[in-house]
């Protein structure tokens, strides 16, 4: 089940698309001891969703989205620890605004390039941000990370508790809102044009589409989503470390997205869920096999199942349907 914006696809939310939210709510009641892992997964789903919008839909290859995830995380953290703004909504807004600025400014510079050049430029921008955060210790805490972050109750009502209940709900609600917006974008004419650009940017330009502007808009929107994810991480952990900006975490996120399936919306859900639960269960028990296992899995997916886990599900469903119609076909003369 691919979700491509198109002039012939219905944008109605299918029954199965409510499943993740049902699971999200159920997890709160039935797995209370896993709420902090759950909140982290929700954050990474949002982060993966933002990357899916640019990589999967617009076809912009980037390894540098950690710049926006990290900027969002630090914006919220610095605002609280250094400026004393503890309102979570305000922190979120500042994180979104900073990421929009950085996304628009860097996007305008780099989106004229493609392929490997673009990949290198996105990496370079993330690397610069990491170095700035590393050096500006008085503001960011440098390698020690930024602590002393306090987050006031949401709307003055919901206090962040020790068990992470509020944090979990906050992540779930924010993810829901961002998912709904992203989904609308994907099903809009704009989203359809992004897919057109991904499929054939030469042709899109020749039918008069402002290709660079569309890409810049998508990149900026995606940067804002990544910034929301970053801010959420800060607010749930009440700590920011350099790792949010690191190349490893950007790479790890891409692994999750490829695992789930790129350009499908829900690959961004399945990937982080499977990856992070597996990591939680296996990484401690089998630290030396964990990375190897992930590596082998990734190679297998890239070689045999380009659509990721959801792609495999599609294949199975298509196979089952074909079986049925072949059966029906026998009745006809």
């Amino acid at each position: 089940m691919r979700h491509n914006g198109s002039y012939s696809a219905s944008p109605r939310i299918g029954l199965i698309e409510w499943l993740p939210w049902l699971l999200g709510v159920a997890a709160f009641f039935y797995l209370p001891e896993y709420l902090s892992l759950g909140a982290r997964i929700l954050v990474y789903i949002l982060y993966a969703l933002s990357v899916d919008l640019v990589v999967g839909y617009a076809g912009i290859v980037t390894l540098g989205h950690s710049a926006f995830f990290g900027l969002g995380a630090y914006a919220a953290g610095i605002l609280s620890a250094k400026v004393g703004v503890t309102d979570p909504m305000l922190q979120m807004l500042v994180a979104i605004a900073s990421c929009a600025l950085l996304g628009a400014a860097t996007g305008a510079l780099i989106l004229r390039t493609r392929g490997l050049t673009l990949l290198m430029l996105t990496l370079a921008i993330a690397a610069i941000l990491l170095e700035v955060a590393n050096k500006a210790t008085s503001i960011t805490g440098g390698a020690d990370g930024l602590s002393g972050i306090t987050v006031a109750p949401i709307f003055g009502l919901f206090r962040f508790d020790l068990f992470g209940k509020t944090a979990y709900w906050m992540c779930l609600v924010v993810l829901f809102i961002c998912w709904w917006i992203t989904r609308r974008i994907i099903y809009s004419p704009f989203g359809a044009s992004l897919v057109g650009i991904r499929e054939n940017h030469v042709r899109m330009a020749s039918i008069g589409s402002p290709v660079s502007m569309r890409l810049l808009t998508a990149y900026t929107l995606s940067a804002m989503l990544a910034g929301v994810a970053g801010a959420l991480l800060t607010q749930t952990n009440q700590f920011v470390g350099l790792n949010v900006l690191s190349f490893e975490s950007a790479g790890e996120l891409l692994v999750m997205l490829i695992l789930g399936g790129v350009g499908r919306i829900y690959g961004a859900f399945v990937g982080p869920i499977v990856y992070m639960i597996a990591q939680d269960q296996l990484a401690k028990q089998f630290p030396e096999y964990w990375s190897l296992g992930i590596g082998v899995l990734l190679v297998a997916i890239v070689l045999f199942a380009r659509g990721g886990l959801l792609g495999i599900v599609d294949l199975v469903v298509a196979h089952a349907k074909r079986g049925k119609s072949a059966f029906a076909g026998k009745e006809a003369p």
Binding site: G5, S188, S193, R203, I207, P210
Partner: protein, 249 residues
Amino acid sequence: MSVVLETRSLCKRFGALTVADHIDFQLQAGARHALIGPNGAGKTTFVNMLTGRLAPTSGRIFLGGEDVSTLSQRERVRRGLGRTFQINSLFRGLSVVDNVALAVAERRGMGGRLFRSASSYADVRDEAMALLASLGLAEDAQVNLANLAYGKQRLVEIAITLAMKPRVLLLDEPAAGVPSIETHRILDVLDALPAEIGILIIEHDMDLVFRFAKRITILVNGATLLEGTPEEIAADPRVREVYLGERHD
């Protein structure tokens, strides 16, 4: 008759290779004009410069009397310039109707809208469907483009361009790769195009050229060798020499 498209002294060099050599060219309103020439003569490069995909080394391009030499592809499209590609340049992962709808949406200036769903613009889809029907592709509308027969893909190539409602249409070998027994389908489509569209067609199939074109220009090594009516071209001995590759002595 008025000139809708004109080049003055248009030049293009790729390093030491001159692909356009001071081309002075005029396309009349409603023209049926063919541009022919041997492989590598610079025909596709000429089209790429006209549409703004390639910047000329020197020279100027006028569209409807206006100097568009430095305008973007988008600006030229908005002024009524459309083209098809010699090698299919389509949206292979999308359905046939979506291939066309993207072009309809851009022409209507709503290709960048964010708030409503694309499929709620029924008028865009209907227009794309009507266009496909007029080309005999109604039954293929929901087919994934990559699964479409090659000859039909060539028609979709034309459909996308027609969806832009161009005043000037540049067709780069529309029948390329189509078996000769099927080229009549392409020709039927071309014959049915509105008379007011100025058409420049690049084509190697001489039957098609002589049936369709009222005027022919021959390009050799980036320079115009000859221009005239089909009768004049057919009678000129130089044509056989350079274009058909026959030595005449």
